[in-house]
């Protein structure tokens, strides 16, 4: 079974046809997707700006992480779920769309950046938790995170302008 056949099978599934054909399903799921994404980006930006030393300097880095991270992850789960539902309505169209592909790569890069930060830079967090400048690696992680998420939002919006209608 090649990938193209798999995408078409997804589109033809009851879920795929429901999201594609219902008058309200797509816009409603898309609205939830937007709310989830702005929550992800908004909460991550709070942490990124703290790492960059541009805001919340009177907050400990670990405290800021504790306050934001579970909301980032919760909203990310909603974004993946709603994004998956939108995807199955026109799977081959999305899979073949260059902006959708870029968006997926950028989400992956944002996750990789976060993983590297938490696996390596975070180990010494006790040394720079408060009243100490964040090390360069942490600032780079914050800057890259902001950049990746801005590009994720742009790519997502670009999908809507370049997507081929389902065949």
């Amino acid at each position: 079974m090649n990938l193209e056949a798999f995408w078409h099978a997804l589109e033809a599934s009851p879920l795929g046809t429901f999201v594609a054909e219902s008058a309200w399903a797509f816009p409603t799921i898309e609205s939830a997707h937007v709310i989830a994404i702005v929550t992800v980006v908004g909460s991550i930006a709070v942490m990124d700006l703290r790492l960059l030393g541009l805001a919340s300097r009177d907050w400990a880095v670990t405290a800021m992480s504790r306050d934001t991270l579970r909301w980032t992850w919760g909203a990310f789960a909603v974004a993946v779920l709603t994004g998956g539902l939108l995807f199955v309505s026109n799977a081959s169209g999305y899979a073949g769309n260059p902006w959708f592909q870029r968006k997926m790569v950028l989400v992956f890069l944002a996750g990789l950046n976060m993983a590297v930060f938490h696996l390596f830079t975070w180990r010494s967090v006790a040394d720079w938790d408060s009243n100490r400048p964040v090390p360069t690696a942490g600032k780079i992680a914050g800057g890259l995170s902001l950049l990746f998420w801005v590009l994720v939002v742009f790519s997502g919006r670009a999908v809507g302008f370049t997507l081929d209608a389902p065949v």
Binding site: V34, V38, W71, V150, V153
Partner: protein, 181 residues
């Protein structure tokens, strides 16, 4: 009983009889509007800025109101939380208004002759007014938020209402694209 869809159609029909039609056509012939219409990437770029501003505003709204609801932010005082996040809500809102105006100039018919657009505008005004009122109440209570617990249930109801109002604005914003115009 007429459905919500019928109501939207009726509202569109009525909008078509107002001077908004002429205004939209006039805007769409202005140099700035023509510039936006003739450059494919301008609209997605403005929309992206608009969404990023929503992320800044709504992220800050969540940090303040989830703190009031006791769901996050326990590591800072209420006074710290308000000082950190309230200015971001208003600066982001200014960005939303500016990018919103550019979107209207770029696609005046899509917005001004659209019932969902006007529903969103009403929701925006209501959200702003309720936020101004609620913010004054939060500022009055924030100094001894950690020690005095009276009136907390009302404050939590207000916080939940603000979050919900922002969500309805976002839902209405997305539905602009699907309204019968």
């Amino acid at each position: 009983m007429p459905s919500f869809g019928d109501l939207l159609y009726a509202l569109t029909e009525w909008l078509r009889t107002t001077p908004l039609v002429e205004l939209s056509l006039w805007i769409s012939n202005q140099p700035l509007s023509l510039m936006i219409q003739n450059h494919f990437w301008v609209i997605p770029t403005i929309q992206t800025t608009h969404i990023l501003a929503i992320a800044a505003a709504f992220g800050s709204v969540l940090m303040i109101n989830l703190r009031i609801l006791g769901l996050t932010g326990g590591s800072g005082t209420m006074t710290q939380t308000v000082a950190r996040f309230v200015p971001w809500v208003w600066w982001a809102l200014l960005t939303l208004v500016v990018t919103g105006i550019f979107m209207i100039v770029g696609e005046p018919v899509r917005e001004l002759i659209n019932p969902v657009f006007w529903i969103k505008m009403v929701l925006v005004v209501v959200t702003i007014l309720v936020s101004i009122w609620f913010q004054a109440r939060v500022r009055r209570k924030m100094a001894d938020w950690e020690t005095k617990r009276d009136g907390r249930i009302a404050m939590r109801a207000g916080a939940a209402a603000i979050i919900l109002l922002w969500c309805t604005v976002m839902v209405a914003g997305r539905w602009i694209a699907y309204a019968p115009v």
